[in-house]
Structure formats: structure tokens, C-alpha cells
């Protein structure tokens, strides 16, 4: 293993100050009815309160979301106000990479030396997503209307193809066997439910009670609703929508938020319930695959990152990804030689859904918790994003110098 340096020597993620809402499937929970920016701000205050972090410790807020929400023009300062803290900040958006990119930018803010405590808050509501009306002089309709989530999934303006088509094309390029993809999906479900049953997810996910405008209970968000046990036989029996893609081997839209802090080392020790644990930023890379080969992009990004750092798959303790298609994992194995069985021990977005903005933040939080359970080590988080992009980042979890 090559000795590595950290990309942000000053930045730490204080262990145990994070949290995520559950990700109920779209249109299945009270989250379908809220201003998601307001919800995220209020939920962050609650999560930090449960983690015994006074919100007045925050100096800056990086928010990430991909779907427009009411008053999004006001970005992070507004969300911070909903949290009850008047701090500055900005909004970042990189499709499904948002949840990781926002954390990396939080690290950059701390690294700049101007802040000691930066909040990272990502969220999205796919339910009832807004409809945009765009004057388009070059289109024959003159005006185009786009339902933000579904029309974007269905049409990459750069290639003219849908995301599901990209999954099928990538599967064909790598000659992926449908049976393997079903096996991957079956394992992912098994991993998720084992993590859930073990109580692991309770350390990451926070049940939240919602109120209606009259201040009366609207409902409790305490489950990744829409996720059901599915057998391998049932997966095998599903109709193929494109090559190796069925409804069971792709993710579903959901709603939610996730948050963590990025701080200076001193503040991390002060705010974390386990100050002996240190979480550092090691490195990051991004890659863009050829047109409509999006599932391949994360593997390219990981390969690039590990090569640059001089590491191999054997150096990594925990690897976890955003995999909207099970095809992603099959391709990852083909590209990196890293068996898909060694990924996603506590579940992944293929199973628990994909609210876009917060997806990779939850992936990261779960991965860091898992690494702490394992006594530390390198944590690799990666995923794909619209535009055939892949993103990967490596973190190091050490406990009292042990890693």
C-alpha cells in the first residue's frame, strides 16, 4: 500500500454527529406534501439536537438538492433559517453525485481555514416534482414543459437517450448476464434487511414526526416505505425493460434528507461523542464515460482514484455505492476486478431508493458507521450521475491512531 496524503488535511467529519431521514418511496409518505427545503432545515436541527450538537456551532451551510423546491432561489441561507440559525452558505447540485460532492465541498470550506464547522445538508423530494415551463425558440412547440424528475430520467439532452437505455447499453457492452444482475439485486435486498434487523440502520436513520399546517400530526417518517423483501425467483420472473434491467434491478424514486458536519480537528473532538475517532478526506476523482454508458462511469472514477493514490481494492475496508441499476455493480466487477459481493454490506440505494440529492450522503454515513464498527480503515464511496458521470471519494477512519 502506498502511503497516502489527505486532500483536506484540516477537515474532519466528526463521528456520530450525522443522520438521515428514512427515504420513503415517492408519493408514499407525508414527505410528499412538504416544502422539502423547510423540512430538511428543521430535520437537521432535530438530528443535531439528538446528537447533542447545538446548531449555533455551525458557521456555514452547504446544501445540495437537484429538484427545484419553492423558494430555492434563497438557497442555503433560507434552509439555515428554517433550521433556526442565521448563517451563510450556498447550494450545490450535481445530479445524483450531489450528496457526495456537497460533503467534499464542505471539506474544502473547512480546508480554506475560514470556518471550523460546516454543515452539509442534502435533500430532495421526487414526489410531485415541479413542472418547469421553458420558452424555447428553437423548438417547434416554442415552449417546452418538463416534469422535473421523470422527463429528465427519460431524456438525456446530450445523447437523446433515457437513463434506462444507458443501463441496457452498458450491460450489452460488458456482456452482462441477466442472471448475475438478478443475483446482485437479491444480495442487495438481503444485505439491506440484515442491516435493518441488526439495528445498524437505527444509528444512521432518524424517525421524524411531521405536522400539517394546523400543527396537527401529519404522519411519522420512520421507514424506507416501498421496500419489500423480494426473492430471487421473483426477480428472475420479472419482465426485462431493457437489457438486464427489470423493475427489481433498478432503484425507485423516493424523498428524504441527510446531513453531516465537516469541521476542524479540534471541533471534531469537541463535538463528537467519540472524539478518539478521526475521519479524514483522502481523495476524490470523477470520470465521464462514453455517451450513454453511465453505469460504467463510477468504476472508471474508482479505478482512477485508487491508481492515483497507489491503493488497491485490498486496501479498502468498506466500499459502498449509489447503484441505481444492479448493472452498475456487475460492470464495476468487470472493470475493477472487485467482486460485487464485497460492496454494500449494509444496503444501498438500489434497494432503499433514490431521492437524488441526499442519496450519496446517506451512502457515506452508512459506510462510515460500518467502518467504525470494523475498527477503521479506508472507506470508498462512489456512484453515477446524470451525464454519464461517475464520482468516487476515499475517506480514512481511524480510531485513536489505529486505522
Amino acid at each position: 500500500m502506498k502511503a497516502t496524503t489527505t486532500m483536506f488535511p484540516r477537515a474532519r467529519i466528526p463521528y456520530g454527529t450525522w443522520g438521515s431521514s428514512y427515504f420513503p418511496a415517492w408519493q408514499s409518505s407525508p414527505l410528499a406534501e412538504v416544502n422539502i427545503g423547510q423540512f430538511a432545515g428543521e430535520a437537521m436541527a432535530r438530528i443535531l439536537g439528538m446528537r447533542r450538537v447545538p446548531k449555533h456551532e455551525l458557521e456555514y451551510l452547504v446544501i445540495g438538492s437537484t429538484i427545484p423546491w419553492h423558494w430555492k432561489f434563497w438557497t442555503a441561507p433560507l434552509v439555515a433559517s428554517c433550521m433556526g440559525q442565521r448563517i451563510p452558505g450556498y447550494h450545490v447540485e450535481q445530479a445524483c453525485a450531489t450528496g457526495l460532492q456537497a460533503v467534499l465541498l464542505g471539506g474544502a470550506e473547512v480546508e480554506s481555514g475560514s470556518k471550523d464547522v460546516v454543515g452539509v445538508l442534502t435533500f430532495d423530494r421526487t414526489s410531485d416534482s415541479p413542472v418547469g415551463v421553458f420558452p424555447e425558440r428553437r423548438s417547434h412547440q416554442r415552449t417546452q414543459t418538463i416534469a422535473d424528475v421523470w422527463d429528465n430520467f427519460g431524456f438525456d439532452p446530450a445523447t437523446g437517450k433515457a437513463m434506462i437505455a444507458a443501463a441496457g447499453m452498458t450491460a450489452r457492452k460488458y456482456k452482462i448476464d441477466r442472471r448475475e444482475v438478478d443475483d446482485i439485486a437479491a444480495l442487495r435486498y438481503q444485505q439491506y434487511f440484515e442491516a435493518k434487523d441488526s439495528g445498524f440502520l437505527d444509528r444512521v436513520l432518524v424517525p421524524l414526526d411531521l405536522l400539517n399546517v394546523a400543527g396537527r400530526p401529519l404522519g411519522r417518517v420512520d421507514d424506507d416505505t416501498g421496500v419489500r423483501q423480494i426473492s430471487l425467483g421473483a426477480l428472475r420472473a420479472q419482465r426485462e425493460l431493457d437489457t438486464c434491467v427489470t423493475s427489481g434491478t433498478q432503484t425507485h424514486a423516493s424523498d428524504g434528507m441527510a446531513t453531516l458536519l465537516v469541521t476542524s480537528p479540534e471541533k471534531a473532538r469537541e463535538l463528537s461523542p467519540r472524539p478518539e475517532i478521526q475521519i479524514r478526506f483522502v481523495g476524490k476523482s470523477e470520470a465521464r464515460a462514453e455517451p450513454s454508458l453511465m453505469p460504467e462511469a463510477p468504476a472508471l472514477a474508482v479505478r482512477k482514484l485508487l491508481e492515483r493514490l497507489g491503493l488497491t481494492v485490498h486496501d479498502v475496508k468498506v466500499a459502498k455505492n449509489h447503484n441505481p441499476f444492479a448493472v452498475n455493480d456487475a460492470v464495476f466487477t468487470k472493470v475493477t476486478g472487485w467482486h460485487w459481493k464485497d460492496l454494500n454490506h449494509t444496503g444501498c440505494s438500489l434497494v432503499w431508493g433514490h431521492p437524488q440529492g441526499p442519496t450519496l450522503t446517506r451512502v457515506l454515513i452508512e459506510a462510515l458507521e460500518e467502518a467504525v464498527d470494523l475498527g477503521g480503515g479506508y472507506v470508498l464511496v462512489f456512484g453515477c450521475a446524470a451525464g454519464d458521470v461517475g464520482i468516487a471519494a476515499l475517506f480514512e477512519v481511524s480510531e485513536g491512531g489505529r486505522s
Binding site: 423540512f39 436541527a45 432535530r46 439536537g49 447545538p54 433556526g84 442565521r86 400530526p217
Partner: protein, 713 residues
């Protein structure tokens, strides 16, 4: 308990009557007006408004005016209405003084004035108010002709500006009486006396007063029907230490836990009573935030970190931003707390409040009944702070404060006086709502709380025991002529537990009924005297157990229980029938089934035994208690009552299913408890009333709704 020497509160100029014993000092004495027994013995109130107006504003032919400066502000405008309407009948002009550009706060009061006095009355009051403007330095020339004799200063809380204001007035009008409405500065800093009023200013009658020597001003306020409460000359007075204190505790809880202000408010309301943040927004955050900061800032300078304002308050004193989110951001994420979080929250709220109160006790800031009542009458405390502490007991209070210090170590370095809790067993602590006096023959029991609850019940029993221990066989039960200006019935918050458990309801209906029976059973003569404008519900049920009921002629009596609905469970469903003639039963039944009130003079002979103007009512009650006079005692039919009507001819239909159910239950309770003798009737009506408290109509009614609102926090 044994008779004690009268305890004089530090700010009181008390009059001690050598022949009277009292459980503790009557609060009236703190105004220099003697004890309540003295009123009855004298057969007259100790002073009257006419004489006091003359002392303060001069004789009728040279009557001066009252000037209220800062009259367009929230306090000034409210007090212009309140004092203006009360002084107008005495020919005292009210001068409302403010800057030329001040927004019109007085005009906004007019609808309330119309509601209180009718159009003609409101027009008369407004016509008596002269609005003048000035530039802050030079008083308007017209003022001289109005002969200002009293200045009530309600200008911003800036010491130098206030002092300069007084200088200008004293220079122009030597000898003018000046009082400041300040909520923070002691009189010694200002150089004038204090008349600190409580919100809402147009209707709240309470004024904390600080006088440097004998003065007619607090007595004048009292004679005008207001409630002056003498307090010591310390920073921020009692009300603001309590209210700003609980606001600060709420702010610190927010700061430590991230809990949003609205949720903190709900939990504070559930545990203590006030909504500190909502109250600031309702008063007007711009001004209220500054006042709260100002009070805490000065307390911080004087007493240390226990009072240090949080950064959130410091920010808002400048911005005046509301604490509650705007309507389009109504709260979305609820805070469902674990038991541990709730315990933590309770310590964060009660710890500092207890510590601050212990400090005020150490400083002897006022009569304990006053300190307690200020929280209830002015700061929305459901129970006064001393009752809360008494309920907890000294050990738990100390433990709570110490637990708070572990969460907020800086507060431990501030004033903390656990030793001031040592007297918790004395009558001063134990009789916060009920006092008793006697002259060796007649006892007077005074109730200073407008609503009846367990604390009043226990204190009343102790007072009766105390009188019996002194072999007093003749007793008058009445208000305290000071803090309590009416008797409104049971404190419905006491019913909340009874909605769920029959035993809780039975404890109330049996227990309180037995207390009431003591007035009938255990004294040779018992006289109820209603000196205020109304006596309703449980208070009427209590007083109707006296052998005689005397009232001022305009007092109104009623059982509004049906409007909740609950049953009148202190024997209201049978006792008044047992004490009235058969011909009067329909009137009793009508009162019970409609909740309509009757005037004392219209209830003579069947509910009330004597009425008259206040002096006459006092004399009548005293004569009856002393066995003088020829008024026959209404008897009690203790056997089975027959042919009790179960309906009232011409009764309007019930206006809701709840009301219909309530009526049916009242009639059933009446029929059943009249069908047995009086001894068996007590537990029977208690059982029926308690059962109704657990019924759906009751839970769906106002008591149930209020309980749900409070518990839902």
C-alpha cells in the same frame, strides 16, 4: 397552626390591629389599608376613590390632570384607556403626550373601549383625553392650563432619557407626582416611584408599585378597582424577573437542544403555563424583545450569569424579528421527546426559575402571596411559582437547581440562596391563596384566588382548622379585597386527570364537597360575603354552603358548568334545592341547565340572603356573623325531596349534543341526589359528577379540548 404575629412585607406600610389575629399578613395591609376583618368591623371600605382623587389631583374646583407620556406606545396607550376611563367620572382630564410622529396607539384602543363602555361611554372617555405632542425637550404650552398633578411615564427604557424627562416636568410643574411604568429600573436609579403595569395593559389591573414613603398613589389605584402590589426596590421587580427569567430559561433550552421556539413554548406552557416566545410576538417583538433584554442585561450586571441574555435575544433586541416563523413556514417537523429529554427540559426550565425565585425570596421582594400571584395574574403561570416550589418541596427544588447547574455551570456562580426555602412550612408559604383572621369571636376567611383548585381547597381546610383551633364558631368567607376581584369557579385544569380516571374525579367531587360541607356543619354561623362582580360555578357551590349568603347588589351568580359541559359536582345539583322553596326550584333548575347568571338582587330569598351597596353588605355580613340582626336563616331540607321537576317550561333547546348530554346528566344527578337524604346525596352526586367527567361529551367539550391542547405539546 397557632396565631402568629402579623408578618409585614418589606415594602408594606402595614396597619396592625392589636385585637386581630391572622394566619399571615393580609395582603391589603401592604397597602396600608388594614386587614379584611377590619373592613367588616368598620362596616366600610378603608378609603374611597373620591377622597384619594382629591388628595392626588386636588379639589374639584382646582382639579388637575394626569399626564401619560409615551401615550402612543403599547403601555402608554393601554394605560391611557384604563386610567382615563376610571378617572373621567372624577373630572380628571387625561393628557396623552408623545412625539409628533409616533404611530397612533390610542385610536387602536377605541374598539375595546366601545366593547367595555358602549359607544356613548367610549365617546365620553375619549373626549376626556387630550392628545398633545412635544419634541422631547420642551413641554407644550397648553399643558400648563391642564394643571398636571400626576405624570405616568411610559417612555423608552433608557435611564438618561427618563431622568431628563422627569427634570423637565419637575421644573415646569413643581410637586408633580411622577411614577414610571419601567419594568426594570429601580426607583432609586430613576428618582421617582414605580407603577409597573402588567400586560395586556388596557385590561390587566395589576401594578407593581414602589414607593419611597407614605403615598396615596397605590391606594388610589386600589380605590379605582385596580390591583397595586407593593414590591421592593430591586432591579426588574417580581414580574419581570419571572417572565424575563422564564423567557431566558426557554432561550437556553433552545440553545442547548436546538428545539425550535414554538416547541419550547408548547412545553413551557404544558409544564408552567406561559408561552414566552408567543407572548413576545403578541406584545410586539420589537419592543418586547428590547425590554426583556434590558431587564436581563441589568439583572446580569447585578447578579451575574444566571441572567446573562443569550445571543439570540441580543440579536433580536436590535432586529425585533418575531420568534415564531412566518405563516408560510408553519412548523413542519415535530419534536417527539423521549422521557430523558423531557426530564432534561424540565430541569432547564424549572432550575433557573427556582433559582431566580429563591433570590427574590432572599431579597424579600414582596408578600409571598403577591410574589405567587404575580406569576398567575401577569405571566400566565398556571400555578404561582411559590405554589410550584411548595408542591415540589425544598429538597426537590434544590436538586432541580443543582441539576441545572450541572447543565449550565456559569449559573452556579450566580446568586443561589437555597436557605431562603427554609421557611416553606410557615403560614406565609402555606397560605398563599387563603388567609384567616379572627378577633376572638368571629373569623374571616379570605380567598385571594379567583378559581378553586386543590391548593385553594387544602389552604381553606387549614384555615378552617386554624379557626376551629382558636375556638372560633362564627365565620365569614369572602374574597381578599385585593388580588381577587371576582370568583369564577373551579380551575378546569384540575379536571384534566379526571377525564381519564374515575378516581381522580371522585377525589375532586367528594373532597371539595366535603370541604364545602364544613361551612354548614362545623360552625355556629357561617356567612358568605361576595364583594365582587361575580361568583360562579364551584365558588358559588362552596359559598352556598354557608348559612347566609350576602352580596353586593350587582354581583352575578351562575353555574356555567353546562357550557363546558361538566356537572356542578360540589353539590350544585341538590343543595340549592334543599335550601330553597319548592316554588323557586324552576329558577335553580334553569340556572343549572342554561348556565345563565342572575343578579344578586334577583336571587334574594332562594339563593342570596341579603344584598346592598358594599358598605351595607359588609355591615350585614358582620351583624349576621355576630348573631345580630333579624334575617331568618334559610333552612336545609335534609331528607328526601319529592316532586323535583325534571324540566323547565319554555327552556330553549340545547345548542349542541354536548350541551344536551350535559343537561340530561344534570337532571339525572339532581333527581337521584334529591331522592336520598343529604348525607347520602354527597357521595352519590360526587360519583355521578365524576363519571360524567370521564364521559365522551365531557372529553369532547371544552375541558377535553383544553386538556388535549396542553397534552399535545
Amino acid at each position: 397552626m397557632t396565631p402568629t404575629a402579623r408578618h409585614l412585607a418589606p415594602a408594606a406600610g402595614a396597619t396592625v390591629t392589636a385585637t386581630t389575629n391572622a394566619m399571615r399578613t393580609p395582603t391589603l395591609e401592604t397597602l396600608g389599608l388594614g386587614g379584611v376583618l377590619d373592613l367588616f368591623r368598620r362596616g366600610a371600605l378603608p378609603t374611597d376613590a373620591g377622597a384619594l382623587v382629591e388628595r392626588v389631583f386636588g379639589r374639584a374646583n382646582e382639579r388637575g390632570s394626569i399626564v401619560i407620556s409615551g401615550a402612543s406606545g403599547i403601555v402608554g396607550a393601554g394605560k391611557t384607556m384604563q386610567l382615563g376611563s376610571r378617572l373621567e367620572p372624577y373630572g380628571v382630564r387625561t393628557v396623552a403626550l408623545d412625539f409628533p410622529g409616533a404611530p397612533d396607539g390610542i385610536g387602536r384602543q377605541y374598539p375595546g373601549l366601545v366593547q367595555a363602555f358602549g359607544r356613548q361611554g367610549a365617546a365620553r372617555v375619549m373626549a376626556n383625553i387630550i392628545r398633545l405632542t412635544y419634541d422631547g425637550r420642551r413641554l407644550p404650552d397648553e399643558l400648563k392650563a391642564l394643571k398636571p398633578r400626576f405624570l405616568l411615564e411610559a417612555i423608552p427604557e433608557i435611564l438618561e432619557i427618563k431622568r431628563e424627562h422627569y427634570r423637565v416636568f419637575r421644573e415646569a410643574f413643581p410637586g408633580i407626582e411622577i411614577r414610571s411604568v419601567t419594568s426594570g429600573f429601580p426607583a432609586r436609579e430613576l428618582g421617582v416611584g414605580i407603577a409597573h403595569p402588567a400586560f395586556p395593559h388596557e385590561i390587566n389591573k395589576v401594578y407593581e408599585t414602589v414607593e419611597s414613603g407614605p403615598s396615596a398613589v397605590p391606594q388610589l389605584l386600589w380605590s379605582l378597582g385596580l390591583i397595586p402590589v407593593p414590591v421592593s426596590d430591586d432591579w426588574s421587580f417580581v414580574l419581570d424577573v419571572l417572565f424575563c427569567g422564564i423567557t431566558l430559561a426557554a432561550l437556553r433550552a433552545h440553545r442547548a437542544t436546538n428545539m425550535p421556539y414554538w416547541k419550547v413554548d408548547k412545553l413551557v406552557r404544558r409544564r408552567v403555563g406561559p408561552n414566552p416566545f408567543r407572548a413576545h410576538d403578541a406584545i410586539g417583538a420589537q419592543g418586547a424583545d428590547f425590554l426583556t433584554w434590558s431587564c436581563l442585561h441589568h439583572l446580569d450586571e447585578t447578579y451575574g450569569a444566571l441572567f446573562t441574555p443569550t445571543p439570540e435575544l441580543v440579536e433580536r433586541k436590535q432586529t425585533g424579528q418575531n420568534w415564531y416563523p412566518p405563516d408560510h413556514f408553519r412548523p413542519l417537523v415535530d419534536w417527539t421527546l423521549s422521557d430523558a429529554e423531557l426530564d432534561d427540559f424540565e430541569v432547564r426550565i424549572l432550575g433557573p426559575v427556582y433559582q431566580m425565585t429563591a433570590l427574590m425570596l432572599k431579597e424579600r421582594r414582596g408578600h409571598l402571596a403577591h410574589v405567587n400571584a404575580i406569576g398567575e395574574l401577569c405571566a400566565q403561570f398556571r400555578k404561582g411559582v411559590l405554589v410550584m416550589m411548595r408542591e415540589a418541596g425544598p429538597e426537590r427544588v434544590v436538586k432541580t437547581v443543582e441539576a441545572y447547574h450541572r447543565l449550565d455551570p456559569a449559573a452556579a456562580k450566580s446568586a443561589w440562596h437555597p436557605e431562603s426555602l427554609a421557611d416553606m412550612g410557615t403560614p406565609e408559604w402555606q397560605q398563599l391563596y387563603v388567609n384567616a383572621e379572627h378577633d376572638g369571636t368571629v373569623g374571616v376567611v379570605t380567598i385571594s384566588r379567583e378559581s378553586y383548585g386543590w391548593d385553594v381547597d387544602r389552604e381553606l381546610n387549614r384555615a378552617l382548622d386554624w379557626l376551629k383551633g382558636a375556638r372560633i364558631r362564627r365565620v365569614i368567607v369572602t374574597g381578599d379585597f385585593h388580588l381577587s376581584t371576582q370568583m369564577v369557579g373551579a380551575d378546569t385544569a384540575e379536571f384534566f386527570d379526571a377525564l381519564d380516571t374515575l378516581d381522580a374525579g371522585l377525589a375532586i367531587t367528594n373532597g371539595w364537597s366535603r370541604t364545602a360541607r364544613r361551612l354548614w356543619d362545623e360552625f355556629e354561623v357561617s356567612v358568605a360575603m361576595v364583594p365582587g362582580k361575580r361568583c360562579l360555578g364551584g365558588m358559588l357551590e362552596l359559598l352556598m354552603h354557608c348559612h347566609y349568603l350576602v352580596a353586593v347588589e350587582d354581583a352575578r351568580f351562575g353555574w356555567p358548568e353546562i357550557t363546558l359541559p361538566v356537572l356542578p359536582g360540589m353539590e350544585g345539583c341538590h343543595w340549592p334545592l334543599r335550601r330553597s322553596k319548592r316554588d323557586d326550584w324552576p329558577r335553580v333548575l334553569r340556572m343549572l341547565l342554561t348556565g345563565e347568571a342572575v343578579r344578586a338582587r334577583d336571587a334574594l330569598g332562594w339563593l342570596v340572603d341579603a344584598t346592598g351597596p358594599i358598605d351595607e353588605a359588609l355591615r350585614t355580613a358582620w351583624d349576621l356573623a355576630n348573631g345580630r340582626g333579624s334575617l331568618p336563616r334559610r333552612g336545609l331540607e335534609s331528607g328526601v325531596l319529592s316532586e323535583v321537576p325534571n324540566d323547565v317550561p319554555g327552556l330553549e333547546p340545547a345548542d349542541s349534543p354536548g350541551s344536551a348530554a350535559g343537561r340530561a346528566a344534570i337532571v339525572a344527578c339532581m333527581m337521584q341526589s334529591c331522592a336520598v337524604d343529604a348525607t347520602r346525596a354527597l357521595p352519590l352526586q360526587a360519583k355521578l359528577a365524576a363519571e360524567f367527567l370521564t364521559s365522551k361529551p365531557c372529553r369532547d367539550g371544552r375541558v377535553g379540548a383544553e386538556a388535549a391542547r396542553l397534552r399535545g405539546a
